[in-house]
Symmetry: C2
């Protein structure tokens, strides 16, 4: 999905919601557990209930990988049913070099190799340029690079500043800006760091930002939009637990839809403010 | 495997070699390709040919994951045949937070969950404390944290220095030192950065360092030992391509053994210098 197509979907659905699929066998409703592939069945119902309200899905790979070959199959089947109108993001946070980075890129971007084909993958920058550039060699695919994350530990290293006051997350963004355009690179910026969106927009005015931390993690959508939105929206705001685990009962899909709809309505209001809706 | 047991194996085998299992279907001898699981068969023969010469194996997870469910099975089967006398390191470079980090830890440490059980896993530190501590909650398991890597891109962020001159890789080591002991934490330090081992030993005198970059990447074993060895060895030096791809023919296992033996002999000389061999 190109940048232009993504913006079209945002206008059409009046939403910039990304639904996280961190599907944990221990948290899904017990009514699914007797089915042959409960993880896939859960995802299928969540996707059917929310696909018109969101523009992206983001399976977190850890939840599939932890179930070995069986989990990998659930992920493949999930990938296949994510509608083409939604960006399909592998939240893998991979970071390795050279031929290994290339292997990870193949894993998530080349269906003929791994059986998976995502539109985007999250990438960790610690190892530098050669851990990021192999992902940028796939035309039409997105690399979503960790910049400023939403967790407590983000304070440990991401704010480390050099003599000029430039912080690690700013170094990361400037470096990666030089490697790929805003047609292929996004940055992860946590919603719990609202005040820093201004600093980030100074160096990445056009890029889409993937924003976790809304909902269960306590970030404010209004604050994120106030500081982080650009004239084409430029945000994908993720919610996971507040949507997919809204109910533990057999009404989980309906309740997920209700929670997604609440966010979609708030997002529509934000989109109206920047005047891109017809 | 405990620290004490690892040191015992180093003395017994007169080696601190780690063999990387970056097993690429495109690089293994064609004579294996008709077998049911060529990746596993290759690993099996490499392991049989080298197990008395090394103290660790390190499958790089990208090479398995890129083959989907099939690759995951090859990895499980490989895991099962790595002898108990060798540390079994998942080179996964995972870095995520909270329940996701815990899922990754379960993936690599809990056989009943994923079908895999490694002794150690490599961890990326960008997201800080809560991306590392979940791995430290497994008694008897090792977390091998990226500090200073061997690639060109390591210059991009790892040398970023604060006002006091302390660099990112030093911040990482100091932070992680406070989270776990040298009985459960190792650091990745590239062989191509020989001169920095002195700085690292100042802040991590007792820790084992996992050292990639010998062989194909051009690092010098002598230099690494001169600056990086401590009184109990404290090094696991990895070689991958120079060993496992020493030959493309049917003699690949014998040639791998020869290359491993060359390194073992050099390592024995280094161990004699510190006087821990009988």
């Amino acid at each position: 999905m190109t940048r232009k197509q993504l913006i079209e979907q945002i206008k059409l659905k009046r939403s910039f919601l990304c639904v996280g699929l961190d599907t944990d066998i221990k948290k899904i409703p017990s009514c699914l557990l007797d089915l042959e592939d409960p993880i896939f069945e859960f995802n299928k119902r969540i996707i059917e209930a929310t696909a018109d309200l969101c523009v992206a899905y983001k399976p977190n790979i850890a939840f599939y990988e932890s179930r070995g070959a069986q989990g990998w199959r659930s992920l493949q089947r999930t990938c296949e049913i994510i509608p083409k109108s939604c960006l399909n993001i592998a939240d893998a946070k991979r970071g390795d070099i050279g031929n290994t980075a290339d292997m990870y890129a193949k894993t998530f971007f080349s269906k003929e190799v791994s059986g998976l084909e995502f539109d985007a993958v999250t990438v960790a920058p610690y190892m530098g340029e050669d851990s990021i550039s192999p992902f940028l060699e796939y035309p039409g695919k997105w690399s979503v690079v960790l910049a400023l994350t939403s967790n407590k530990g983000s304070l440990d290293f991401q704010f480390l500043a050099d003599l000029s006051g430039k912080r690690l997350f700013e170094h990361v963004i400037e470096k990666v800006n030089a490697l790929g355009s805003s047609e292929q690179v996004m940055y992860v910026v946590g919603a719990t760091r609202g005040e820093y969106f201004k600093d980030i927009r100074r160096i990445a005015p056009d890029h889409f930002l993937l924003v976790p931390g809304i909902g269960a993690q306590g970030g404010s959508l209004q604050e994120v939009c106030a500081f982080g939105m650009n004239k084409e929206c430029g945000l994908l705001v993720n919610a996971t637990r507040s949507i997919i685990y809204a109910s533990k009962g057999s009404d989980f899909a309906e309740r997920a839809r209700e929670e997604a709809q609440k966010l979609q309505i708030e997002m529509e209001q934000e989109l109206q403010k920047i005047g891109i809706l017809i």
